[in-house]
């Protein structure tokens, strides 16, 4: 059952389990909210999903290299407030803001990457620092939730295009297509190599530091885009950081089958994972679960997501990179 197009053979990808789970959740949701299957319903669902999906896609790149990145919510805050303050003030604001947020996200990501890959700082602590600093910058730009997002962004990006395709859906499709191509690029292959076994990657001639640096950079750009889409969804800017959202980003990656140890998984799974979490939230709302349970739910779901991610990894019969098999001296033991 080889899929030689990927250069990797595996019986069942763990993102398939995520897709299955999504199907089940969506079916249940449909029971409570029959309009979900309509174009409006799907558009609405995709609009709710897209911010989380893009953020999770970005985080996936970093996690694949076996590092962590807490700065997603910080970058989202900064870019979100920028969209809410700049997009209405500049002609062609939507487009210019888009470029701007991508650049800012890229910049923050490259700083993260520099701290972790070149200065050797531990990624959890370093990205925690940048997250806090980013939130500070966001507060400087916009002290409290407010601002105004350009009408073009708000209306067009949440709508459909060609009459049947939700813009959010189109963006996600583009992201998935982009990923499928990226996976085959030298950088994409390098990311997997570095996350699996950084030493072997180095001995193979790969530039481990540059790979991580770029992974962080691309992730940052994704976060910037997520902040932009958040502006499109909410129409305002919010400089505050949500711990729950940070949990969700990691949960999406975990459910999607990308283990935190790196080297395995992919963006597709994370996007599906984001979908699962969004449907679940909408389901709870549709069922009528009281709002105050939300926090408890957020906390519990994260833990369940990690456990589910571990489970699906085992089920998909992936072998863990057994480093001891090819290490050591002449008569190398197992």
């Amino acid at each position: 059952m080889s899929q030689s197009t990927r250069g990797q053979r595996r019986p069942i990808p763990s993102s398939a389990f995520a897709a299955l789970l999504y199907g089940i959740m969506f079916a249940i949701y449909l029971l409570y909210s029959p309009s979900a299957i309509s174009l409006a319903g799907i558009t609405d669902l995709l609009n709710n999903t897209i911010v989380l999906a893009i953020a999770a896609a970005g985080l996936t790149l970093v996690i694949l290299t076996a590092e962590l990145d807490l700065s997603s919510v910080g970058v989202i805050a900064v870019t979100n407030v920028i969209v809410a303050t700049v997009s209405t003030k500049v002609p062609g604001g939507a487009f210019i803001t888009l470029i701007l947020v991508c650049l800012i996200g890229l910049l923050v990501g490259l700083i993260n990457g520099w701290l972790v890959a070149f200065l050797g700082l531990q990624s959890l602590a370093a990205t925690l620092g940048t997250m806090i600093a980013c939130q500070g910058v966001a507060l400087l730009i916009l002290e409290a939730p407010g601002g105004e997002v350009a009408a073009f962004i708000m209306n067009r990006l949440t709508d459909t295009v060609f009459g049947f395709m939700p813009v959010a859906g189109l963006i996600l499709l583009l992201a998935v297509a982009g990923w499928l191509l990226f996976r085959r690029s030298r950088l994409g292959i390098a990311i997997y190599a570095v996350g699996t076994d950084a030493l072997a990657a180095r001995l193979s001639g790969l530039n481990v530091k540059a790979t991580k640096w770029l992974a962080f950079g691309l992730a940052g750009m994704a976060y910037g885009l997520a902040g932009y889409m958040l502006g499109a969804q909410t129409g305002t800017g919010d400089p505050r950081i949500s711990n729950s959202f940070l949990l969700y980003v990691f949960a999406a990656v975990a459910i999607g089958g990308t283990p935190l140890g790196g080297g395995r998984g992919g963006v597709i799974g994370s996007v599906v994972g984001a979908g699962i979490l969004t449907v679940m939230q909408k389901l709870l709302f549709a069922v009528g679960v009281a709002e105050f349970y939300t926090n408890i739910f957020n906390g519990v779901i994260m833990i369940v997501a990690i456990l589910f991610g571990n489970l699906s990894a085992i089920l998909s019969l992936r072998q863990k990179a057994t480093m001891s098999q090819h290490r050591g001296g002449q008569l190398v033991p197992n």
């Binding site: 962590l68 050797g120 959890l124 806090i132 600093a133 500070g136 926090n295 906390g299 833990i303």
Partner: protein, 347 residues
Amino acid sequence: MNDILTRSLVSSRTFKPETLTALLVLLGAVLMMLAMKVLNPGFGSVQQIAAILTTSIFLVVAAYGQGLVILLGGIDLSIGVVMSIAGMMIAGLTNGSNEALTWALPVTLISCTAIGLLNGLGIAFLKIPPFIMTLANGTAFFGVALGVTAGSSQRTVAPALQVLMSAQIGGIPVPIGLIGCFLVAGSLLQSRTTEGRKLYAIGSSLAAARVVGLPIEALTIAAYGVSGLCAGIAGLLLAGYSSSATLDMGDPFLMPTIAAVVIGGACVTGGRGLYFGTFAGAIFLSALSTIITVLSLSQGWRNIIQGGIIIIALILQTKQWYLLSIVNRQLPGKQSLDGVLPQNSEV
């Protein structure tokens, strides 16, 4: 052999590089306050210094638990929530009088410890990464607290606690005396007990700790339990100081506990660091916070400075050994095989 002798001098108990770092941090705090005094002659009165030291107690206590957990190689992101819960609980249970204090106090502290133990259980047995477990747990219990208090946040606190925080003995505020005692007790517990030694070992090499047969799960759960307890104590003190409690009163303290530990020279991957360093970091941050308030900097600047300090402290830490080696004209002792920065940059 000369380098062995010099290195032994360097590594001996009285001249640990971490002690030097801690002293440097305290010096930094003093210098910072002096600079502030120059800019703003009204700054730096005895009362102000006393206030800085008094308000540092929350961080001094809460960062102890964070320090223990980081020593193991983990992290505790639930400290802010637990502090708030402790404050709300004691306020809600005592409701402005001292009567219920005798049982409200232990109940509160036990609850906080329980949250910590729950963190430890998830991390030790379910193998959930610490930052996720503690963040998730904290969020969940925040939800519980939100539900129980039905959102209403203002509460009044037992007078005894308020008195504790404002009393003076011989002209010295009680909290300042308390932080001194806490420093001694905390340092002894972390560095001179068998459990503390084992924490250092586990944080240094989990695999070796397994081979040697150290009680890894038990100590992990205990460390997170202590962290919960410390957060609880800090929350109580904070409630006493503020004379009231709100559901987000602990939030501003979470990041500073991490910053204090990192500034103090502890290694975030575990295995190294003295409580004295964390203590110094807490004092430093308390002074910094006061200066920021005096300068009327907005919350945004506060965050930027906080984030920046964490990063600068991390960078300086990697330089810690290099600085010392220059002083001793020796090759750095913590070089990785390629002579580049140690710890995280193995390739």
